[in-house]
Amino acid sequence: MQRFVVLTLNGLTEGSIYAAMALALVMIWRATQVVNFAQGAMAMFTTYLALFSLENGAPYWLAFVIALGCGFALGAVVERVLVRPVENKPPLNVVILTLGVLLVLEALAPMLFGGQIRSFPAAFSIVGLRLGSLQVPFSGFDLFTLVSVLVVMGLLLLLFQRTDLGLRMRAAAFNPEVSRLLGIRVGRMLTLGWALASVVGALAGLLIAPSLLLYPTYMDQVLVFGFTGAILGGLDSPPGAVVGGLVMGFALSYVGGYLGSDLETVGALVILIAVLMVRPRGLLAWRAQRVV
């Protein structure tokens, strides 16, 4: 029972990070119909920038904000400079393009910051919290991770559902042609969508760095599990991304804990295939749409 609680809490923390990654991927997919394989590498790069700021005397929260700000800029630049020109090319081209960006960033990071494995500080204690005399396997930093992911999701929900800007962004993604006729700057909305998604990705990178340690490819598996989570939930659905990410977190934690950590990714594969066989467009896809 105790083991189950430990694994559940662990799954919740990791799942929230996968959910953030999945959300970033879904935001970009909805805006531009692109699976951004460079999402993880972009987050890796901004986390290195945070570490660089820390080493040059910046306080933790300033470094945190710097990383998120750089994430915003990086997302905007990648969309505007690289993705926009291949918009009307065959759909695989943009996939290869984001893979290219991934490779460039993963090569650039060790050139600029050194390739060795680095530790990254956590904002709060990583020792389990105390409830009276009982020490639970859930640290202050885990709590911070969970809360910050929830806050970001809440803010995004507010943005998209309650603000004029969010409505314009949704319209631009939903029907660029009509939106343009209505006077929406579609290109600018798409750039903004990428930028915001990259902020969410950068947050995931900062939150997982203390436990995974920092090295150029440390976000690769987070990207794969986040992508799997996004697929699981349905790429068109932001709530689906959150559900899918959490499911991945719990599933990986249970499979790793009960069956052995070397079966984690096989377990993820089996779950993904099983779900997709029943629901080929993800758990929360509201209709089976096929372009005819």
């Binding site: 690289l82 290869i96 893979l99 490779l103 090569a107 650039l108 992508f227 993820a268």
Partner: protein, 359 residues
């Protein structure tokens, strides 16, 4: 789909005889070439031939049939591990091992293809990516069978005695790989020209229309997946002979992504595109690696320079030659032809990017 009976008369059709003639000519040229170059270049030549097999198969699936697979590295692993396991403690001839490994990968491909036929676009990409991540882990988990992280060793193929005692093994594996690659290309080239190939393309271009025309869409997709997996298995088997080691680290996600990038850079949906892509895949890292080591850079920069350049090549290629090297060459030829014809008829040379003749 009806299995068509092989007719000897078909040897006389222009398509097959043209393909066979081209393949034979290419084989002779490549044999002569490989005899003139050093062992290291032979080694790279063999790598290109092996990648050609895998990328031609992947191009059939992705370029011709429209199913994106990010997991072909895992299918190569199936072929490589079959080979390594067959050769462990037995001394089986290559001519038996290759078809056996190919069959093993085709079987895995059939199982996965049935699942894949239900999925579209990014969902298929995600499922195949999970395959690429998950399958190599089985090798680490059941290390008593698959040798764990260290992997299984494969003894290199020794050239037959009549080629001389000091015939380099790199050249021999290059010859085997080139022969296998050319046979694969002839077979797939023929398949593309047949009714099966037309069905592949019909399903890619418009599923609903293909179904209305009486094509069983799901079955066609499974067939494409099986053929493509068989190619990956053959490539994996040769890869095991070529590298002498089958380990999980050699079949990571990176390999699968390299294969996809090769077909997009080379040109989607064409046999020559797979060849161009494989050449880029092998030569860009080899050239940049040599360049980086000759520049005397600090190790953190020098070690990562090839990766940086490869990534930049991917980005720049997508921006400048969106239809791959093959598409770029076709466009050049078409422009040249249009200009030549235009001189006579004063006709403006307009080139259609989406020329379907590219298949």
């Amino acid at each position: 789909m009806r299995v068509s009976v092989f007719k000897w008369r078909s040897l006389l059709t222009p398509t097959l005889s043209r393909h066979l003639g081209l393949a034979l000519a290419a084989f002779i040229v490549l044999l002569v070439l490989s005899s003139q170059i050093g062992a290291y270049d032979d080694y790279n030549l063999a790598a290109i031939a092996i990648f050609v097999i895998a990328t031609t198969g992947l191009n059939l699936l992705t370029g011709v049939n429209g199913q994106l697979s990010l997991g072909h590295g895992a299918l190569m692993a199936v072929g490589a591990y079959s080979t390594s396991l067959l050769l462990r403690g037995h001394d089986l001839p290559l001519i038996l091992v290759l078809p056996a490994s190919l069959t093993a990968a085709a079987l895995v491909g059939a199982v996965f293809g049935v699942a894949a036929a239900r999925l579209r676009g990014p969902y298929l990409a995600g499922a195949t990516l999970a395959l690429a991540v998950g399958l190599p882990q089985i090798a680490t988990r059941y290390s008593h069978v698959f040798g764990g992280e260290e992997g299984l060793t494969v003894a290199p193929q020794v050239a037959p005695a009549w080629l001389g005692a000091d015939f380099p093994p790199e050249r021999w594996i290059a010859w085997i790989a080139i022969a296998a690659a050319l046979i694969t290309m002839v077979l797939l080239g023929n398949l593309l020209q047949s009714s099966v190939g037309r069905r592949f393309k019909a399903v890619r271009d418009h599923e609903a229309a293909a179904a209305l025309a009486g094509i069983n869409v799901a079955r066609t997709q499974v067939v494409a997946f099986v053929v493509s997996a068989a190619c990956a298995g053959l490539a994996g088997s040769l890869f095991a002979y070529w590298s002498g080691l089958t380990a999980p680290s050699g079949f990571g996600v990176a390999l699968s992504l390299q294969l996809v990038s090769a077909i997009v850079i080379g040109g989607l949906g064409s046999l020559s595109g797979a060849v161009w892509g494989s050449i880029v895949l092998v030569f860009v890292p080899a050239l940049t690696g040599g360049m980086a080591s000759s520049l005397n850079l600090p190790s953190a920069v020098g070690n990562n320079l090839p990766l940086l350049i490869y990534g930049a090549v991917l980005v720049v290629a997508m921006l400048l030659v969106p239809y791959g090297i093959d598409g770029g060459l076709r466009r050049l030829f078409a422009l040249a032809r249009a200009r030549w014809a235009g001189a006579a008829s004063n006709h403006k040379g307009v080139v259609d990017w989406d020329d379907p003749a590219g298949g």
